[in-house]
Symmetry: C2
């Protein structure tokens, strides 16, 4: 019975919203946190912006309106899951401060996590080769280059991924969520 | 602890998919079943086609392609919830047999429930006044009038709402789901 009781002890749903530039490390941190929470018996789900876009928003582009629609859809799904006790991790650039504020206000126990690395660092990492293309003008509406990124002013957690290891980031997330690290 | 243990006893997620003409009684039955399951302590969620369309598919129309996209989005969300132990009730016209077959095959413990009443009966009921308008040619792509409805050939449950009360329908649903009625 112990795993079940552990799970019940953290059965209140919540949403942890990772925002930041492409390549800042949102998905890496979210995946590592998901694995850690799952190992501890929590009900956890990761909604990754790119994957969810494919399922819920194919055909939408990257104008502000289309990005906001995608974010609201992710939030709708996150809310349904959290209502049933799931810890939902959302990894999405979600560049607009007002839109994040609006959707987080609708969610149970929301946390805004700013996954932060300087533009110069993520453009240098360029994991997916997108910054090179964006800087060459090949990708319109690319956040940080040709589209704005509005950093959180008062995030619940601010993780500088150019200064912290993934392990340290996960440790801070666990502490923030009330787990022993 | 008793309610918690009861809930754990039925914690396997599943999806009950109500298909049928507009006005056949899908939402009425799904709402009554939801209330009954919730009263028994089950984790249950109702995804109503019209409501979900507003959240996930605004801008989509009623062509076959757009309807199918909407159905796939509902199924994606239903699958996420069911994976976390929720009994998900989907109420959606979902007129195309092949699309229902395709999405139900992706879902855990799916049941296809055919909520059936003759077109003459639902057009006569005309709860939302839509059949009158569709018959007057004012609504293109109206299922049963100007768009096809492909009835399930081998539904898991077939409820004739012109012959059964809501209470009897719920009783049969409960039995199908393995509950005492």
């Amino acid at each position: 019975m112990t795993p079940v009781l552990n799970r019940l002890a953290v059965a209140t749903g919540r949403v942890v919203w990772f925002t930041g530039l492409s390549g800042a490390g949102k998905s890496t941190l979210a995946q590592a946190l998901r694995d850690e929470l799952a190992a501890r018996g929590a009900a956890v789900e990761l909604l990754d912006g790119d994957a969810v876009r494919e399922h819920l928003s194919r055909g939408l582009g990257f104008t502000r309106e289309d990005r906001d629609t995608n974010i609201r859809r992710i939030a709708f799904v996150a809310g349904l899951l959290a209502r049933h006790g799931v810890t939902v991790l959302v990894s999405a650039i979600s560049p607009y401060r007002e839109t994040r504020r609006e959707v987080l206000a609708t969610l149970p126990n929301p946390s805004e996590v700013f996954v932060d690395a300087p533009l110069a660092v993520v453009a240098e990492r360029d994991v997916k080769g997108l910054y090179r293309r964006a800087l060459a003008g090949e990708i319109p509406h690319f956040t940080g280059i040709s589209d704005p990124y509005e950093a959180p002013e008062t995030p619940d957690l601010h993780l500088r991924t150019d200064q912290l290891s993934v392990e340290e980031g996960v440790r801070r997330l666990l502490v923030h969520l009330g787990y022993s690290a």
